[in-house]
Subunit: 218 residues, 2 copies
Amino acid sequence: MLTRSEEDHIKAVYALLQEGESAFTKDIAERLRTKASSVTDMLKKLSGKNLLKHEPYYGAKLTSKGRAIALQLVRRHRLWETFLVERLGFGWDEVHEVAEQMEHVANDKLIDKLDEYLGHPHFDPHGDPIPDKHGKLRTRKTKRLNTCKPGESVRIAAVSETTDGLLRLLDAKGLRIGTTLSVQDVHAFDGSMDIKPQRGSAFSLSKDVSHHLQVENA
Amino acid sequence: MLTRSEEDHIKAVYALLQEGESAFTKDIAERLRTKASSVTDMLKKLSGKNLLKHEPYYGAKLTSKGRAIALQLVRRHRLWETFLVERLGFGWDEVHEVAEQMEHVANDKLIDKLDEYLGHPHFDPHGDPIPDKHGKLRTRKTKRLNTCKPGESVRIAAVSETTDGLLRLLDAKGLRIGTTLSVQDVHAFDGSMDIKPQRGSAFSLSKDVSHHLQVENA
DNA sequence: ATAATTGTTTAGGCTCACCTAATATATTTT
DNA sequence: AAAATATATTAGGTGAGCCTAAACAATTAT
């Protein structure tokens, strides 16, 4: 049985490894709004429990045991988010905080039943894949919108969930999961991009935004 | 913002005050599976936050602020129990532990939406009343089955939720919330009672059981 | 009324998860 | 290559929430 803090650290390491090569102390601390020295302590502790490998000064990697736990947490988080949006009628920009708390409720039967109740969804409201009972993730070939070239036609598959200002911005522009759009122009100067949704008129997106949109070929 | 432990203590005090006159250190400790000295510490702390009055050696009483918090927790707990049974298909004997965890998820909007989703229920799966948003409880005139006399005809309104062996026993005997039954005989020797459900044949219940059944006139 | 028992509080200690400050290592700049 | 900078670890400290043991208060039995 893990404490909440242990779970949070494992999830942070998992998330950072998803984003890049390694999970560094500093980045973990930033994500958890804590200090690097606290993270070092916890990495040692988790290392002792065989949930991750901590090479001092070179970051952390999860063991398979640790990864299984992280996937379990991600599963819980995304199932609850799905519940909150689809059943309780929350906006997709409001659910992260709440799910962050709910994911720590530890009861396997609960999650199995919730999964069933929701119809075994494969993706959450932000388009992120929900690991199944065994930690298996459905993968898609997606790329970030900012890497697309003028002329490409793509569908929005997922949005990085961490920033809720972003979600409100997308709402305001009428962009959501499943929206199809074509890239009209990319401006080298600032990386901004002119896009045209399938229905609706063209407008431009900053690189900050396009970078957080995962798209797949339409 | 209260910690989980603070919330647990307030709920324990509330529950004990419901059952009897006073909430004593020892009983709180027992309920929380902790030690009396730890409870004393916490009572001091909560006293300082004006959530309860602690008369040393004479137990604790909640202030109105403390009672409001307790009712809030009871509301969360019973709404989640209702969700677990009615939506996820849990048995009524399986939900206490899980709800014990879920009740600590703090988000008012979540509880309001859950309440709405469930259709603003007034009673939980064990027949216990669910406080509304403002902490108001629907009251009924119930009595314990063991206080009934032969010849009385009553309906089961609620079952003390704390003992899950009891709930399984009731399941096995076909007794549930809403079941109507008549009292046939009461044996002075052991306080056991012969009852006959409206449909089905008569059998007897120990005082241990009848004492935990809240009934109302049929 | 005194003694024994039961329950409560106080005193002092422990662990967990954090912190700051100091030190060590790695990386980047000059 | 040396110096400056960024990041990580170690050392030592703090508060929360628990603990045990001892002192204290109230209740019950003799």
